[in-house]
């Protein structure tokens, strides 16, 4: 039974108070070039569409609450990248874990799911994937929402500076600098570092993130992709040029205490796209954990 039928059925039974918040998200998988990509999906596909992209450390589960907040008024879909969350984990001999390759997979996913000019919400690793797709196909996204993602040298925070020797030269010594990111303490850096009130952070999310990152073979895949982040830094000037030329319709929502991509990353974008709307929150990289309701309100106001 699809979402619409279910919703109508509930309506017919008059069980649901129409003002009551409902909680229906569907979970599916679709085969893209032999890889089963997991996605979560909510809302009516005929409404404005939003595709939500995130990678490390928690993939599409980062958007669960935001989807609950917005699904009455928008269609939302959030895939897990290959190797992440509940998607297949192809062997690295069969699938090269690069941002370029992931961007190709996600572009195909958008075509397969017949998305029509969605707005993109890009968080963290979702940013480079988005910029790669958008520079190839400037008309594919209708609007852009960037959250704690980056396209500028000055937007690299202390955690990225710490990883810089690894990005430049991957060896045993430099790997020691970044391996802690894949432990519980590293995961907590994304969730809790800079959070205003850690008591409001749902432990389920980082516990599950740890569970997924502890799976066999994950460390190697995650290190491959992190090492490939250097290719994003090389691309930054191209993305900046694209931003200046295209002047996309852009909403920036930012956790200002992010140690990966602090608010300087947002300010740099706003310098090149002055019409961009910026909302800063006193929280961590994963700003949705504490501020999903505020960010949902920003999105409603931005998209109408």
């Amino acid at each position: 039974m699809n979402y619409e039928t279910k919703f109508k059925l509930i309506g017919n039974k008059k069980l649901i108070n129409p003002t009551m918040k409902t909680q229906i998200v569907n979970y599916g998988k679709v085969n893209i070039d032999g890889i089963n990509l997991f996605y979560r999906e909510a809302g009516d596909k005929a409404k404005q569409q939003i595709i939500l992209l995130n990678g490390v450390p928690n993939a599409s589960s980062a958007f669960q609450e935001l989807m609950n907040d917005l699904k009455e008024d928008y269609y939302l879909i959030a895939p897990d990248f290959p190797g992440f969350g509940n998607s297949d984990i192809p062997d690295k001999r069969d699938y090269e874990y690069t941002f370029h390759n992931i961007s190709l997979t996600i572009e195909k996913f958008m075509a397969t799911m017949k998305l029509k000019q969605p707005t993109v919400y890009a968080l963290g690793y979702g940013g480079p994937v988005t910029f790669r797709i958008a520079t190839r196909r400037p008309d594919i996204f209708n609007n852009y929402i960037l959250q704690n993602s980056n396209a500028y040298e000055e937007g690299l925070g202390p955690a990225m500076h710490n990883a810089a020797p690894f990005l430049e030269n991957r060896n045993e010594e430099t790997t020691k600098l970044v391996r802690p990111l894949l432990t519980l303490d590293g995961i907590k850096l994304f969730f809790l570092n800079g959070a205003k009130d850690p008591g409001k952070i749902n432990p389920d999310n980082y516990t599950n993130a740890l569970h997924y990152l502890n799976r066999p073979g994950q460390e190697e895949i995650q290190l491959d992709l992190l090492y490939n982040y250097a290719s994003n830094i090389t691309e930054y000037p191209n993305w900046q040029k694209w931003l200046k030329e295209i002047q996309p319709r852009l909403l920036l929502v930012w956790g200002k205490n992010d140690v990966f991509f602090p608010v300087a990353a947002a300010e740099a974008i706003k310098r090149d796209v002055p019409s961009a709307e910026l909302h800063v929150y006193d929280t961590s990289h994963l700003a949705l954990e504490e501020h999903h309701a505020d960010i949902a309100a920003n999105i409603r106001s931005f998209l109408g």
């Binding site: 039974m1 069980l15 108070n17 909680q23 229906i24 569907n26 609950n68 432990p203 516990t207």
Partner: protein
Amino acid sequence: MKTTRVNYRNTKVNGLNIFYREAGSNDSTVILLLHGYPTSSHMFRNLIPLLSENYHVIAPDLPGFGYSDKPDHQEFAYTFDNLTKHIQEFIDQLGLKRFAIYVFDYGAPVGYRIAVANPEKITGIISQNGNAYLEGLSEGWNPIQKYWAEPTAENRNALKMMVEEGTTKWQYFTGVSDETLIAPESYTLDQHFLDQPGNVEIQLDLFKDYANNVALYPVFQQYFRDKQPALLAAWGDKDPFFLPPGAEAFKRDIPGATVKFFDTGHFALETHVNEIGAEILNFLEKLPK
């Protein structure tokens, strides 16, 4: 727009860390949510926002589950009596004087023990696949009943398949017609905790002690007859462990009980949280404060 904030708290109860989720106003009527096997208060993550606009919602993780402490089974008696003792102490520490109680699976024998001991505190009971009658037990209990009858190492070891990933997923999908409603984080998080060192023995101890719940069914039923608590049974009618006759049976002892079936399995909240949430709100509204 109304926003729902959930607090994730920890408190020491008899020396154990007890984790709980709390939402809603301190001035509102309290509803205590007690989870089942093999999950935790995580199972209430979607129900809490539906209830917390009007109610003060409190959902602890039982010792041995979720984020609560899980002492080694040789140092802590994993019995339902002992779980109840800790939840009773938790209730007393929080100073809860009057509350409604939502019980599911393992939460039921704990919650019914609490109701029997504190009938004056209970404003109403919501039993979601929270069994109290022999006719509610399915054949799914056979391997466990075998262990009760002959508590040998062999029969204990045979139950280890119950805590494996495949079984956990099976519990979530059995009886569910629309599998796209099952969030993978549910069984993933459950399995994460089951796979922690020592957890298997904890669960095997509790399987064994479940016999004492069955032995207490007559006591629970006597309480239902004597006190006639307001009761809503909200039941997944394709639960492989607790059968619909277990829900119907409440009406025998509490003629005023409401029994509602939902076309789903054991973890009915995973697929029918909106429908069950609406029934609960309707039920709670009629209770004395």
